[in-house]
C-alpha cells in the first residue's frame, strides 16, 4: 500500500486518482441530465407552435382533428395514464410473486432456468407482443372476457353520463387489452429486478426473523421489504417507464381512437402511439409536427408528475 506514513485519522488526503474517479462519475451523471434537458429543449422548441396556437388548452382539449387542425391532448394523456397504471397494478403483484417464489420457495435446481425464462420475456421484440395481443389475446377478450365483464359489473354507476366502466362493444382491442399486454411486457423487468433485490438482502435479516418464529411470509413483509423498500421501488419505476413509453405493442391492441374513452374497454390512444403513428408523415414547419413534439414534451411532464408523486408516497411511508 502506498498510503502515507502518518495518516491523519478522519483527514485522509485526497489522492489525484480519486479526483479523476469522482470527476468522471460526476461527468457521467451530468450526461444524463444534459441528455434529458436537450431532449426537452428540442421537444419544447419544436412544439412551441402548438402551445402558441392552442395555449394551455392544448392539454385539456378533447378534440383531435387533423383535417380541421384542431388538436387537444387530453384523450392521449388519459389513455397513457390509464393503460400504464392499470398495467402496473396487474404486473406488480405477479412480478413480486414470481420474485418471491424464485428466491424463497423454488427448488434450487429450477431457479436459474426459471430466472432465465422470465428474463427471456424481456427479449421478445415488442412487435411480437403486439401481434400476440392482436391475434391471440384480442379474440379471447372479445369472445369471453369482455361480455363477462360487461354483464358482471353492470351495477357500477357510471362517471357522469359519459364513462361506463365495463360497458363497451366487444371488439377485443382497447385500453384494457393494451394494459394486459403492457403488464406482460413489464413483468420480466419487475420480476428480475425484484428477485435481485431480494437475493441481495443480507441473510442475517431473514435469519433474525426466523429465529423469532416468523413464517417466510412474515419475514418477507415484516423485515425484508422494509429494509429494501427503496430498491424495490426501482423495479416499479423500470416497469412504469416502459409502460409509459411503449409504442409498437400498444399500437396493435389499443384501437387507436384519439377520442375520450367511454369505458375501460373502449379503443383509445397513448401519447407514444400517437407520436409514432403520425411522425413519419408529419412535415417540418407544420402544425401537425408541432403537436407531436408538444405531445412528446407533455409525456415527459407526465412521467415527471407520476415519479414525483411516487417519490412523495415513498418518503411519507418512510417517515411514518
Amino acid at each position: 500500500m502506498s498510503t502515507p506514513a502518518t495518516p491523519a485519522i478522519g483527514a485522509r488526503k485526497i489522492h489525484p486518482a480519486d479526483t479523476t474517479f469522482r470527476l468522471s462519475l460526476h461527468a457521467a451523471g451530468a450526461v444524463v441530465v444534459i441528455v434529458l434537458l436537450s431532449i426537452l429543449a428540442i421537444m419544447f422548441m419544436g412544439g412551441k407552435l402548438a402551445f402558441d396556437t392552442f395555449g394551455l388548452g392544448f392539454i385539456w382539449g378533447t378534440e383531435w382533428n387533423p383535417v380541421t387542425q384542431i388538436y387537444g391532448a387530453l384523450p392521449a394523456i388519459t389513455g397513457t395514464l390509464v393503460t400504464a397504471i392499470l398495467a402496473l397494478c396487474i404486473a406488480w403483484p405477479i412480478g413480486f410473486g414470481i420474485a418471491f417464489f424464485l428466491t424463497e420457495t423454488c427448488p434450487e435446481k429450477l431457479r436459474t432456468p426459471l430466472g432465465v425464462a422470465i428474463e427471456l420475456l424481456a427479449a421478445v421484440p415488442s412487435i411480437v407482443y403486439g401481434m400476440w395481443g392482436f391475434f391471440v389475446l384480442a379474440p379471447f377478450m372479445s369472445e369471453y372476457v369482455q361480455p363477462w365483464l360487461t354483464s358482471t359489473f353492470l351495477w357500477i354507476p357510471p362517471i357522469g353520463d359519459s364513462f361506463f366502466w365495463f360497458t363497451a362493444p366487444p371488439i377485443g382491442v382497447g385500453m384494457l387489452t393494451a394494459a394486459l399486454i403492457l403488464a406482460v411486457m413489464i413483468l420480466p423487468f419487475i420480476a428480475a429486478t425484484t428477485r435481485d433485490v431480494l437475493l441481495s438482502t443480507p441473510q442475517l435479516l431473514k435469519d433474525g426473523a426466523y429465529a423469532m418464529g416468523a413464517t417466510r411470509w412474515e419475514a418477507l413483509t415484516g423485515v425484508v421489504i422494509p429494509a429494501v423498500r427503496g430498491s424495490l421501488f426501482g423495479a416499479v419505476f423500470l416497469g412504469l417507464g416502459r409502460a409509459l413509453g411503449e409504442t409498437m405493442a400498444v399500437v396493435f391492441v389499443i384501437g387507436n381512437a384519439i377520442r375520450m374513452p367511454d369505458s375501460l374497454m373502449a379503443p383509445s390512444a397513448t401519447i407514444a402511439s400517437v407520436v409514432a403513428n403520425n411522425f413519419p408523415e408529419a412535415e417540418p414547419g407544420t402544425l401537425d409536427l408541432a403537436v407531436l413534439l408538444a405531445l412528446g414534451f407533455i409525456l415527459f411532464v407526465v412521467s415527471f408528475g407520476v415519479l414525483a408523486v411516487a417519490r412523495l408516497l415513498l418518503r411519507q411511508e418512510r417517515m411514518s
Binding site: 384501437g255 384519439i258 403513428n277 403520425n278 408523415e281 412535415e283
Partner: protein
C-alpha cells in the same frame, strides 16, 4: 496461393475504396412512401443485376420522403400524395408518377360471400361516420336484395398510422359522400367518428379477419395475396364493379393527364364498364438543381429501365404499371431537367 493472395488483396483494396469514398459508387438512395417500397426495391435489385446502379430505398413514410428530398439528403423522394405545384416550384423539385395502386374494401360478414356485397360510395361514407351501424340496415339491404345480411354491428377498421392509403380513401369518400366530407373530411389521418385503428395495411386486414362484421380498406395486394373478400363498389358510371387489374388500368387511362398540373391527375371515381373507383398513382420527386446531376440521371435511368422491363415484377407483386402513353409523358417531363444548361434526358 499467390493468385489467391493477390485476389484477396484486390478485394480488400476495393472494399477500402468503397469505405473511403462511398459516393463514388453508383449507388442511389431514395426514401419515402411505404406503399411502393416493395416494387421500388425489387426493381432496384433487377436493375442492378442488369448492370445498372444499386438502389437503397427506405420506407420512412411520404412526409419524411418529401422532407429528405427537400434537405437533399437522398437522391429521390417518394410520396403517395402529390406535392402542391407552388411547393415544387419553391423547392426546385420535379414530380412524376411512377406506379399505380388501388385501394379495395374488404369485409368479414359471417354467412355471406363478401365479394357479392355491393355498396355505393355514399353508403360506405355513412358506415365510416357511424350513421349506418348494422349490416342489415335498409340502405345496405336495398343495394343487396339477393343477400341475407345478418343483424350484427358493423366494425369499421382504419389505418392507425397516418398514410397515403387513408388519404386516397378519404378523398374518395369525401368526393362521393357529402356527409363524410362534412363530418370527417380527407387527409393522411383524420378524426374517425367510429371504429378501431390498426397499424399498417396488414393490421387492417388482420382486424377485419378477426372481427365478425368488420370492414376495412387496404391496398389491392393485401386482398389479392391473403384471399380477403373485397366487395363491389359503384364507379363513376354507377356500375357495380369488382376490383380487377384491367379495371384499375381503365381508370388510369381515363384520367385527365392533359390538364394535370405537375403530372398529378386524379383517377378517383372514373366512369367506365370496369373502372375501379379508388385508384391513384404514387409519385417520385427529384431535384431540378441537383448537387450531382449524374446521380439524378442515374435515378431517371433506373425509372426508365423499370418502365421498360418491370412489368413482370409489378404483376407478381400486384402493382399496376403506368399506361405507356403516361410513361412517355413522364419521359417528356424529364427532358425539361437541365441543370447548368445540360439536359439530363435522354441519357446516353
Amino acid at each position: 496461393m499467390l493468385i489467391q493472395l493477390a485476389r484477396s488483396l484486390v478485394t480488400a483494396l476495393a472494399a477500402t475504396a468503397l469505405v473511403v469514398a462511398p459516393a463514388l459508387a453508383q449507388d442511389i438512395t431514395g426514401a419515402g412512401a411505404t406503399f411502393p417500397a416493395p416494387i421500388y426495391s425489387s426493381w432496384g435489385e433487377d436493375y442492378a443485376k442488369a448492370g445498372g446502379s444499386r438502389l437503397n430505398y427506405q420506407a420512412l413514410g411520404s412526409g419524411a420522403g418529401v422532407t429528405q428530398i427537400i434537405n437533399r439528403t437522398v437522391d429521390f423522394g417518394a410520396s403517395d400524395s402529390p406535392v402542391a405545384p407552388e411547393r415544387l416550384e419553391k423547392e426546385q423539385l420535379l414530380q412524376f408518377p411512377a406506379v399505380i395502386g388501388a385501394v379495395v374494401v374488404i369485409v368479414n360478414v359471417p354467412g355471406v360471400d363478401g365479394t357479392k356485397i355491393k355498396l355505393t360510395g355514399n353508403v360506405l361514407g355513412e358506415i365510416y361516420v357511424g350513421r349506418i351501424r348494422l349490416w342489415d340496415d335498409p340502405k345496405i339491404t336495398a343495394l343487396n336484395p339477393a343477400l341475407k345480411l345478418p343483424k350484427i354491428p358493423i366494425s369499421p377498421a382504419y389505418r392507425a398510422d397516418s398514410s397515403g392509403t387513408t388519404s386516397i380513401f378519404t378523398k374518395y369518400l369525401s368526393s362521393v359522400s357529402p356527409l363524410f366530407k362534412e363530418r370527417t373530411g380527407a387527409g393522411n389521418s383524420v378524426a374517425w367518428r367510429t371504429g378501431l385503428g390498426a397499424p399498417g395495411n396488414a393490421g387492417v386486414a388482420a382486424a377485419v379477419k378477426n372481427i365478425k362484421g368488420g370492414i376495412g380498406y387496404v391496398e389491392f395486394a393485401y386482398a389479392a395475396e391473403n384471399g380477403m373478400q373485397a366487395l363491389q363498389l359503384a364507379n363513376g358510371s354507377g356500375k357495380f364493379v369488382t376490383p380487377t387489374v384491367p379495371g384499375f388500368l381503365q381508370a388510369a387511362e381515363q384520367a385527365d393527364w392533359d390538364n394535370a398540373k405537375n403530372m398529378a391527375a386524379t383517377m378517383l371515381n372514373m366512369p367506365g364498364d370496369n373502372s375501379w373507383p379508388i385508384v391513384s398513382a404514387t409519385y417520385i420527386l427529384v431535384p431540378r438543381n441537383p448537387k450531382d446531376p449524374a446521380r439524378t440521371q442515374s435515378v431517371l435511368k433506373y425509372v426508365d429501365w423499370s418502365f421498360r422491363n418491370g412489368a413482370a415484377t409489378a404483376d407478381r407483386l400486384h402493382y399496376i404499371m403506368l399506361p405507356t402513353a403516361v410513361q412517355n409523358r413522364v419521359r417528356a417531363q424529364w427532358a425539361t431537367l437541365a441543370p447548368a444548361g445540360k439536359p439530363l434526358w435522354p441519357a446516353n
